[in-house]
Assembly symmetry: C2
Homo-oligomer: 514 residues x 2
């Protein structure tokens, strides 16, 4: 077999966690900021998030949900209203206690003791309680329902262990919050939102996901039902990649969201909330990255095509640039995935070969190099990021379409790559879900120390609750496993629960998770 000289310093198979950090560094996606738990998102990483945001925002608007913006600060007392919600969040929040600084005795700045807040403010970890206050003002009658709002915002959860994109103290997200007349309407909205996340993850991020309901121990604090999409990363671990919660009337009661119903009596609204965050960028990396760096699905690539002219600081450069500009305009004039192709003519100084590898590591879907010889032959040298290597000679797998056919070729490649990345990830996941498990001892064997990473197992269970569930969770915890979700489209149960031995009622996914 030929030797490939991969572009990245670490291979996935050698150390997946180090490989993840290497992709982030070498694709120049983000970096540690020096501020505890907060990262800096750099142009290529933030550009991917901007694309995700734009596509998701279009879905949100199409669903008739209105964007609003609510305060970043939440009065402490708001958290005292919903007991489970406090319990879930109070332990990890940033608390503002002062509103002014003064010079202390040693001349250094300190919070001004004269400017202590009467009631401390919390930097929002999520906005159910503050949006609940607004909904209580806005909802009077059943005619005001459904009330469908969303905001794009930063939130802060004080995390002890952070990992870029996956778990940072500050992160960016959208949070949808809706209020409804009935339980049925609110459940419909909960399911609509998770379906929206599925569609965005699969169709745009090319990340296959399992839609399902979380078991009670994994619910959002205060929720009646929590739904998630779960994606399998290349190391077999799960990434919870978007959640949607039916909150019953719990938050409506805490915030006083009451309305006059069609019969004239007062009712509590049924509310939902759903969120999708910059964590998804981590999911893109761990789903599509390879030993050469990132591969960005075309739908979310800030540049889908990068043209690299091989400039030589000579008079011939002018003709080469003109050739490349014409090519850029021809490509930009085409549509792919319902938008004009995003193409960059990269004129930055530097050798074309070095720049090629920068763009390979960043994962631009198509890289086009143009040198003097290409121009003479009226062709271009084209690299497809998901078919990078010629396996016969171990060299980059350039094709050389003619100049005039390049634009159409690019469109075909981008369309194909969007699907190919999805299929590759889905097939890998399906190879790594074990479904023929009938005894807990089989799980123990699969996840024993030193066993090869088995991905997930889908088992039948009796949906135990309370102490019986606690006992099961402890057994899984010993293997570093958690319940992921109950897939909505799994076949019905037909055996017994591998945890309790009772008749099974449904199937549930078990795995290690980020």
């Amino acid at each position: 077999m030929v030797q490939i000289r991969h572009a990245l310093s670490v291979k996935r198979a050698d150390n997946f966690a180090e490989w993840y950090q290497a992709v982030i560094a070498e694709a120049d996606l983000a970096e540690e900021s020096g501020v505890r738990g907060c990262m800096v998102m750099k142009p290529w990483g933030y550009g991917i998030w901007e694309r995700i945001q734009r596509l998701m925002d279009a879905r949100i608007k199409a669903a008739g949900v209105d964007n609003c913006y609510f305060p970043i600060f939440i009065p402490l007392s708001n958290f005292e209203r919903e007991a489970e919600h406090v319990e879930g969040f109070a332990k990890e929040m940033a608390v503002v206690t002062h509103h002014r600084l003064i010079a202390g005795e040693d001349g250094k700045l300190v919070p001004d003791p004269e400017a202590k807040l009467e009631e401390p403010l919390v930097v929002r970890p999520t906005s159910e309680t503050i949006i609940g206050d607004a909904m209580a003002r806005w909802v009077q009658s059943w005619r005001d329902l459904p009330l469908l709002t969303n905001q794009w915002a930063n939130v802060v959860r004080w995390e002890m262990r952070t990992r870029m994109f996956l778990r940072t103290s500050e992160f960016l997200w959208q949070e949808g919050h809706t209020a409804h007349e009935t339980r049925e309407d609110a459940l419909t909205e909960t399911h609509r939102a998770i379906e929206m996340y599925r569609a965005c993850a699969e169709d745009e991020l090319a990340i296959p996901v399992i839609v399902g309901e979380k078991p009670e121990n994994e619910r959002f604090p205060g929720a009646v039902e929590t739904w998630s999409i779960e994606a399998m990363m290349q190391d077999g671990k799960a990434l919870q990649a978007g959640t949607s919660h039916y909150l019953g009337t719990n938050f409506a009661e805490a915030s006083g969201i009451r309305f006059q119903d069609r019969e004239g009596s007062q009712q509590l609204a049924h509310t939902t909330s759903w969120g999708f965050s910059t964590r998804m960028v981590g999911g893109v990396i761990m789903t599509h990255g390879d030993d050469d760096g990132l591969r960005v699905p075309p739908a979310i690539a800030p540049h889908q095509v990068v043209i690299l002219p091989m400039l030589r600081d000579k008079p011939e450069d002018a003709a080469l640039l003109a050739y490349c500009e014409e090519l850029r305009d021809a490509i930009a004039g085409k549509d792919v995935l319902r938008e004009p192709v995003r193409v960059l003519l990269d004129r930055k100084p530097g050798k074309a070969a070095a720049k090629r590898w920068d763009w390979v590591r960043k994962g631009a879907p198509v890289i086009i190099e143009v040198g003097g010889r290409d121009m003479e032959n009226d062709v271009v040298s084209l690299l497809r990021r998901d078919d990078l290597w010629n396996m016969e000679n171990g060299k980059p797998n350039f094709s050389t379409p003619s100049r005039t056919e390049t634009a159409d070729r690019v469109v075909a490649i981008l369309q194909d790559m969007q699907t190919a990345l999805f299929v590759e990830a889905r097939d890998r996941r399906e190879r790594n879900v074990t479904r023929d498990v009938n005894e807990f001892s089989q799980i123990e064997a699969l996840y024993a120390e030193g066993a090869s990473a088995p991905g997930w197992v889908e088992v039948q269970w009796s949906r135990p609750t309370g102490e019986e569930l606690e006992a099961v969770i402890e057994r899984l915890k010993a293997l570093k496993l958690t319940f992921r979700n109950v897939p909505v489209d799994a076949p019905p149960a037909d055996g017994k629960c591998i945890f309790t031995g009772k008749p099974a009622v449904e199937r549930i996914i078990v795995g290690r998770a980020y």
Copy 2:
């Protein structure tokens, strides 16, 4: 003269401040949140901001500036580095001192004394110091320059007196931060940014502005030059509507942004910063609002056209809706101001007349009502928001174009309105700038108590500094006046300074301001 029954509860002429609050409430733009100094931006108000953001973001990207995202928290010590910057901001910041809550003795939540931060964190009031840290990491050589970054973010400045959109403790903005090899490059960028703000304000928000440099007492803390765009509101006051700062090497020195220059020696970078915020929505209200509510310039209107079918809960409704849908599709198929027309078919329950006035107050540029008789006659009833009243009979000034010509008519109206709103505002401003002032006593007379609001005066001055400037500022302050800026395109000075009697060197605008 006919009597007009205006749609708003307060008239501009009666109480401008109350009128402003009434527009915000009755156009449903925003409301107080209950959290000190923070507002809730509601769908129509946030929708206007989203439009401004999208248009400004396109300009930022076209200028080759890369969007990034930096941490919301800034370590206290960052503020100690740049002395003037501390002085300017330390007095009004939100300070995070704890990272956890626990139940106190009375069961209420309190900051956990065990979770006190070693170094308090400030919620960013602006990001020069934290982005400076990143730039110090990113810039090594002149080849890394210029470094052009921008972020869209929320910032917090603890304001004692707040007013929605104009001055809130939390607000949304973009902040551009750039680093350059030379003073000249940085000044060019400073001017490019303010020109971008001028173009956005005038071409998209239809707000005429004066571009100019701020005098030294009005500079951003730590800046060498501060440029602003100043807009005149309908009450004659100025709104500073975007600023761009040349920071010299002050922040580069504080953050250590050094590079190896072309000759191989170490140099400090020259930096700039520039910002544009949700304050602009306040500027739109106070520039274009009238006694019927808001008028939103077409370029930034979330919906440019609203179609109201006069439904009667009868079988004929189906035909009426079909007629309206066809109309909507015809209008949406047209382009205006380089984008497809944004048209809403409003099917919400409620009487068409009541809904009409809601949309008048919100300021949708074109409102189209369609009833059974319109359909029979193959026409529509069209209201143009900036030509609302028939001055002969005091009734709404409906026109009735035929169905087939409506889409083209709408495009023509939207184009015309975008210009008409700008011209109206520019003419009003020009009527309210007094330029023939040669003595300070004339200013005192113009702004004496009880004098009719005079707008601005443009005077010649000798650009005093230090104590001489302080004395001038005190004289202005007694009249509640401030220096706005030195207009870049004012004619050269040809007289003497009205403050010092010395030969004048330039002209400067004086006015009351928000």
